[in-house]
């Protein structure tokens, strides 16, 4: 992906977002009372303005694309294992999703431990033993601090309750 291509994506994305907002999201998900006296006071005024400006910015990005150098210099550092990298992204997304689902059932501490371990091994840490120790100690230490020093009601699951 060189600079021109990236700007093409951004421009098209911004225009698409703008149209999506104007024709679907704003009319459906912003409610405006019927007794609005003046259009500039309406709750719809600001979102429509922003959506319009986004569209203009998108067109601007498309138009100024030709000013960028046309060489093949990639925008980001290349990596050697692209398919696996995509897979890793899917896994980290799954970890985040899993954490959200588990947190209310398992409690924050146990979820954080799993999260730590999974992420550390996902990035192939060179210190697996330290990673396991940290995965246990750090969430516990953070729990102790937030729950007992800062007095935050850290969510606890039904399984094992910490004092």
């Amino acid at each position: 992906m060189n600079a021109r291509r990236a700007q093409l994506h951004l421009g098209v994305g911004a225009c698409a977002l703008s149209l999506l907002m104007i024709f679907w999201i704003i009319p459906v998900y912003v409610s405006s009372p019927s007794n609005v006296g003046n259009v500039i006071l309406s709750p719809l005024f600001w979102p429509y303005t922003l959506a319009g400006l986004t569209g203009l910015t998108g067109l601007g990005l498309l138009a100024t694309r030709v000013l960028l150098p046309a060489d093949d210099a990639p925008l980001n550092d290349p990596i050697d294992d692209a398919p696996q990298a995509w897979l890793r992204l899917v896994v980290i997304a799954a970890i985040m999703l899993g954490a959200m689902l588990l947190m209310s059932r398992l409690g924050m501490v146990w979820t954080a431990m799993l999260c730590f371990a999974a992420t550390a091994f996902l990035v192939r840490t060179r210190h697996p033993k330290a990673a396991v120790v940290c995965a246990i100690v750090i969430p516990l230490a953070l729990y102790a601090f937030f729950a007992h020093v800062a007095g935050v009601a850290i969510p606890q699951g039904e399984v094992i309750r910490l004092p």
Partner: protein, 324 residues
Amino acid sequence: MNFKTLVTAGFVAASLATPALAEYPERPINMVIPYGAGGATDISARTIAEPLGDAVGKPLIMANVTGAGGATGSVAVQNAKPDGYTMLFARVGSHSVNPAMKETLPYTLDDFRFVTVYEINPVACAVSPNSGITSMEDLIAKVDEGGVAYSSSGVGSLLHLAAVMVLKEFGVENPLEQATHIPQKGGGAAATAVLNGTATFLCTNSSAVASFVANGQLIPLMVTTPEPIVGFDAPTAADLEKPALHQLVGWTGIAGPAGLPDDVAAKWGEWMAAATQDEGFLDKMTARGSVIELMNPEDANAFIQGQYETFRALVDELGMRIQG
């Protein structure tokens, strides 16, 4: 659903859950404060937490869950298990003004069981000295001339409704048309708006404007309680012969989810009775202008329901209800 069914629902839930709750409380209790740190609800909650914690015998964990005029925190408790381990500091804004004004609110009064109301905050109306207004009569005369604005801490806040209700009581036919509402973000900003001339007056908890009144930055026009308030050189609603305004007071109470068992509610009644006897608590609260008035669960429910209905009638009459 009315109060009776509420009690029945609570009773059914209690009969199902009683064995597990034999020694309530057996662990710390989460107390949700639906407003931000430093606000009236927060200070009140943290002041009662000290003596209340002693009475409960287990730690109380205070959690501020703010957003949407108290709705975010209220929803968190509404959806919590009715086991008495998640309780809410309910406030006039979140539990009588909001339900009266907002159709889209994700909860109603029936979703909660109130175990107590322990604090009443008188409401005072005040103007800036630069406005040249010194009495309610002056203010009403100004409203008839036009160009009067009032500030509030947001749509559907006590301040919003209070200003409208006061104007209405003093004979302004249609307060929504004749005076302009300029909502602000938060109570502090609302008072500042009157100080810098953005708005003409505001009606809010007396504690929120006490220091401005003491410093001569704001002039109080009236207070809504039958008795005068220390430091406020202004007539009471009784003096002005507007007894209907006695309903217009702020309050703080404690509520649980609708299915809260009876024995839990009863325990809270005992704890609150002990906690509100505490000397330090009483001193701090009265110094801030609050009136400590402990209500048992039944009285609290009746009080809130009564205030809600007064507000609801006004909202419906003026067409203030927010839809969508």
